[in-house]
């Protein structure tokens, strides 16, 4: 068929993804004097990314007085918080960058301080050894940092999906992309590329059965992970998956603040069960909370409820005020369902799972980065939830900014790689648009449903060698069906590429989960056939590299030096 025109762009730093990591990357790179292009699938930079609709808390080290409020203190606890599988060097870049980033974001106009007190409203959650989270009204967070990008020299290309990285001799040459409405083909030639497209969703089924009803942004589909992996980037920690607690029927963010502010979980017998699982109770790490709910359900104690009735009036008021900050529609859902959380417990369960960080801060599942956000591909950098250091919006901000600075430096020193030949671009355009107008039988939605079925049934939460082998095989067989995908327009072409990327990530999850013959991180990786943690053999990262037939598996040490009985243990239970 006749393809629409193609456009070529040249830049020093190409940023793929316009969320928090991508925006801070663009800010870091433009501050260093680089020409920058930012691509995102969304229609408005202010509302691109996982927290497009808002955010209600940030992990912060403010150096505000308390002994725990320093990078050193937090760093000492990272090994235990990640069950000793974490890449300490880049995590150190993240944690040491936290105080500076808080000030930088405040400088961009983000209001972290409570306007009524002038202080940070801090609370302790997710098993962290101090009140590291600041509750704030983050409805303007993304618009503020986006404004800084729009006001800079960076060029922003919206409704633009990047599809493939182009490399030669393991060096980045640029990336191919297209406009999701006009179907125009783009090639961005760039010395350095920063991948920042976030996590992977639409991977498994949930209680509503609607794939786009997901906890995290359903339009984050592992685009960076898949495009990096296809070019031979090393991928790590892929076996760890993550879910959250959601009111039954809506997979929503925004429920963290409930447990952070003191809500209890009770089971069908009316028992408050969390203390059975963790001394921190409902303030335990996210993966421990979701695992406890899975365990209670499997033990026949479902339904499980969230109970806020005991909370004092001012906290309840605060809860109601902040419920819609992460997800504007959540208060309306409660209302339509007729639930008054001040008066009655409401049923909760676990969401579908995502590939992000296995329920713990600091250890991301994705593109393996070094302490300066570089990868094993020359000129390729990664930040945010698509890489091996993941830590909410502050992780994305610190590492994104670092990536921007580093990529600009790399670009200045090395210059762009060779120019692509016309016929190479033509071939790439042909590949990228192959589903468009094709008479293929399979819609992207139908294809994705097959992937979710395999992931839910054969990866799931009760993993065994037999099921995981089957998952790898089924997912690889599904790769062969990519050829019969059809797309009628640019939008459907985007969904077709997203489905391919989701399948690629699912294959990585299955492959790594099959390799890790132990259980670690509760249900983020639970092997029913190896139910115990095996520190002697598995305190290491599993690293994948795409080969001719499936992924090759390797290992990597973590850099965690403390023995399991670390001396700071006592701090945690204070």
């Amino acid at each position: 068929m006749n393809h629409p025109a193609r456009q070529l762009f040249e830049t020093d730093v190409l940023v793929i993804g316009g969320g928090v990591a991508g925006c801070l990357a663009a800010i870091g790179a433009t501050e260093s004097g680089a020409r920058v292009a930012v691509l995102d699938k969304g229609g408005l930079l202010e509302r691109c990314g996982s927290i497009a609709a808002g955010v209600d808390q940030i992990l912060a080290v403010a150096e505000d007085g308390p002994a725990w409020d320093t990078p050193d203190y937090l760093l000492r606890h990272v090994p235990k918080l990640t069950d000793y599988v974490v890449d300490m060097k880049p995590v150190e870049t993240f944690v040491r960058g936290l105080p500076g980033m808080l000030r930088k974001l405040e400088g961009l106009g983000v209001p972290f301080r409570d306007p009524s007190t002038g202080k940070y409203f801090r609370h302790r959650t997710f098993g962290l050894p101090g009140e590291y989270h600041i509750d704030f009204d983050g409805s303007k967070f993304k618009p503020k940092i986006s404004r800084a990008v729009i006001d800079s020299t960076a060029q922003v290309h919206l409704r633009t999906m990047a599809v493939n990285l182009l490399t030669q001799n393991n060096q980045v040459l640029g990336a191919s992309a297209f406009h999701i409405r006009t179907g125009e083909f783009y090639f961005f030639r760039s010395a350095a590329v920063i991948l920042a497209t976030g996590d992977t969703n639409r991977l498994s089924r949930n209680t509503s059965g609607l794939p786009f009803d997901s906890w995290h942004c359903p339009y984050n589909t592992g685009d960076a992970q898949a495009m990096a992996a296809r070019r031979g980037a090393l991928m790590a920690n892929m076996e760890f998956t993550e879910n959250t607690i959601t009111p039954k029927g809506i997979s929503s963010q925004g429920t963290n603040s409930l447990t952070g502010l003191g809500a209890h979980f009770i089971n069908a017998k009316g028992e408050r069960f969390m203390l059975k699982y963790d001394p921190a109770g409902e303030r335990a790490r996210r993966d421990i909370l979701t695992s406890a709910i899975i365990s209670e359900t499997l033990a026949g104690n479902a339904p499980v409820y969230c109970d806020c009735r005991h909370l004092p009036g001012d906290i309840l008021t605060r809860l109601e005020e902040t419920l819609g900050v992460d997800r504007p529609s959540l208060p309306r859902w409660f209302k339509e369902k007729g639930i008054d959380l001040k008066k009655e417990p409401f049923e909760v369960t676990v969401s579908e799972f995502s590939s992000r960080r296995g329920g713990v801060y600091f250890r991301g599942s994705g593109i393996l980065i070094d302490q300066k956000t570089g990868t094993n591909i020359t000129g390729l950098f990664a930040a945010g939830d698509c890489c091996t250091v993941s830590g909410g919006i502050s992780g994305a901000a610190v590492m994104g900014y670092e990536a921007g600075k580093e990529a600009a430096k790399f670009s200045r020193r090395n210059g762009a790689g060779r120019r692509m030949q016309d016929q190479e671009l033509e071939a790439e355009q042909e590949r990228l648009f192959s589903a468009l107008g094709a008479s293929g039988k399979l819609s992207p939605g139908e294809y994705e449903e097959k992937i979710r079925q395999v992931v839910t049934d054969y990866i799931g939460y009760r993993r065994t060698e037999e099921k995981l082998r089957s998952a790898v095989e089924r997912l690889r067989n599904l790769a062969a069906e990519e050829g019969i995908l059809r797309a009628r327009d640019g939008h459907e072409l985007m969904r077709a590429h997203e489905a391919r990327n989701i399948r690629e990530v699912a294959e990585m999850v299955a492959t790594a989960a099959l390799e890790r013959r132990e259980s670690r991180g509760s249900y983020s990786h639970y092997r029913a056939d190896f139910p115990n943690r095996d520190d002697a053999n598995w305190r290491k990262m599993i690293v994948l590299k795409k080969g001719e037939s499936g992924y090759e598996v390797g290992y990597r040490p973590t850099g965690v030096e403390n023995p399991p009985e670390e001396k700071h243990h006592a701090d945690i239970d204070q």
Binding site: L44, R47, T207, D213, S329, G460, E466
Partner: protein, 94 residues
Amino acid sequence: MPILINEDLCVKGCTLCDQFCPGDIIYRLDLQKVPEIRYEEECWYCGSCEEYCPTDAVKIVFPREMLHSKTQAESLFGKAENDAQNKLEAPPKP
């Protein structure tokens, strides 16, 4: 339909919901007509369109599956081929 638009309140020429939708679901290509909900099954139900509509013309409508979910949560935890192996005596340790 996950998103209802009140024709009487919707301001002609405004494209905010089209721009704010993170999923490329709402299209207002003809500025004189009511925005089209083109890919309704791909709605996140995030509520951004409703939240940012300057004239309150947009309303998110939750489907039955979300308000009255009948799914047994256990069916989402993976195939249980071997019940003895999968019935856990104790929860897994982190």
